[in-house]
Amino acid sequence: MVFIPPFVPETFITMYMPAIYAGLIVGFIATMAIAMKREEIHILILTDLVGLAMIFVVSAVGTDLAEALILPGLVVELAETLAISEILITREMRKIEQDPRANLTKSSSMFPQAFSLDMEIMTTAPNFIALVLIGYGIFLTGFTGGAVAGGGIVLHAISKKARGLPVLLLDGIAGVSGIAWCLWIIGFLLFFVAPQYWVLSLFLAACGLLLKVASKVGLIGLLMREDIDKE
């Protein structure tokens, strides 16, 4: 049985050209679309397509390393979209604040619309499903687990229609994320300082990442709840 071959198998070498050309073509289409569009919100959405081209190009290499490198690329893209769309909303709100009468209708479509979720499923099942999701996420640990557990928190949050949310709670969640980050850094350093404790380091890193991602996805859910409650 061969676990790792000394050289890259023939399949990956023949697949490289089609894969990277597909990446280049997707990138070209996306960048040209951005160059031709005028609306800022469209450009913001189209930049995600550029990120897709990046994933093509990285994954074309087809080694285990390439697989590990996709994750940072994806996360960077996601994180930047989040921060930049928030800046776009801020800018539009500042504009309205300075001149309340000007272009209110034109730009206000960009804001999250308050909407009511009066579905039956929202009152019966959510607690159970949220619990299952969080439990499964804790079993998975790591990045995937964080996303699943965070999804559970989001579900719980959007299904509960309790009014108002103290900012203190949000601060608390941000704090959990900071602690998780420290856990992880300790785990990472321990790998090199004391290699014999690698199991401990592995679990520190995996649980740190779980807490971090879950708290962040949960934070999105809680912010969303603020909007839904607003009506």
Binding site: F12, I20, L65, T90, I96, F139, W198, S201, A206
Partner: protein, 197 residues
């Protein structure tokens, strides 16, 4: 076009992303005339796509050998000498993961999702610094976004509702004015009619 006009266009922030996208697209097209080929001498090489599945391994595409806590798995990083317990994570599986892999032949497809295994070794150990930076990027953008939303965009004190209320008032006022104008109009017309008759 004079060069000055061109520079003036470049000074508008709104045009810059589109200009950047355009030049990036041109460079991507140049890629088609560059001879490209994958170098077969790579680090972290993986076996042929279907090879492990055909052999019926439980951790199908990610089985790199090793025995949990006893024997290291196989992995070929750039600097093996910098990682003292290299391959141990690759060979490791948590007891729960081991149990699942014993009853299901498809555990390999979700090997990402339990501590241990090949991808964790790369993400946490040999290239752990990359993942630290990546999660710092995530954390920073969350700090930026949540700070803005808590202190400004979702701050209820200077809410858009206020503006909306003002707008509604203004609309009501203008409707009121329009109605008055209309009434005056009708009055004047009837007066005119009466005078004409």
């Amino acid at each position: 076009m004079r060069i000055g006009v061109l520079w003036n266009k470049l000074a508008d922030p709104k045009n810059i992303p589109r200009l950047f996208a355009f030049s990036l697209g041109i460079i991507l097209i140049i890629g088609f005339i560059v001879p490209m080929a994958l170098n077969p001498d790579q680090i972290y090489v993986r076996p042929d796509p279907q090879e492990q599945i055909d052999e019926g391994l439980a951790l199908a595409p990610y089985d790199r050998g090793g025995e949990p806590l006893k024997e290291a798995g196989f992995i070929n990083p750039q600097y093996p000498e910098n990682a003292a317990s290299l391959g141990m994570i690759t060979g490791y599986m948590s007891p729960l993961a081991e149990w699942i892999s014993s009853i299901s032949p498809y555990f390999g497809t979700s090997i990402y999702s339990s501590p241990g295994g090949l991808v964790d070794e790369i993400l946490y150990y040999t290239r752990g610094f990359d993942t630290i930076l990546e999660s710092s990027i995530l954390m920073m953008s969350f700090i930026i976004a949540s700070w803005l939303s808590i202190n400004y965009t979702m701050n209820r004190k200077n809410d858009a509702d206020e503006i909306k209320k003002d707008m509604k008032k203004a609309v009501n006022d203008s409707v009121h004015v329009a109605r008055e104008v209309k009434a005056n109009d009708a009055k004047a017309r009837s007066k005119q009619l009466r005078r004409d008759n």
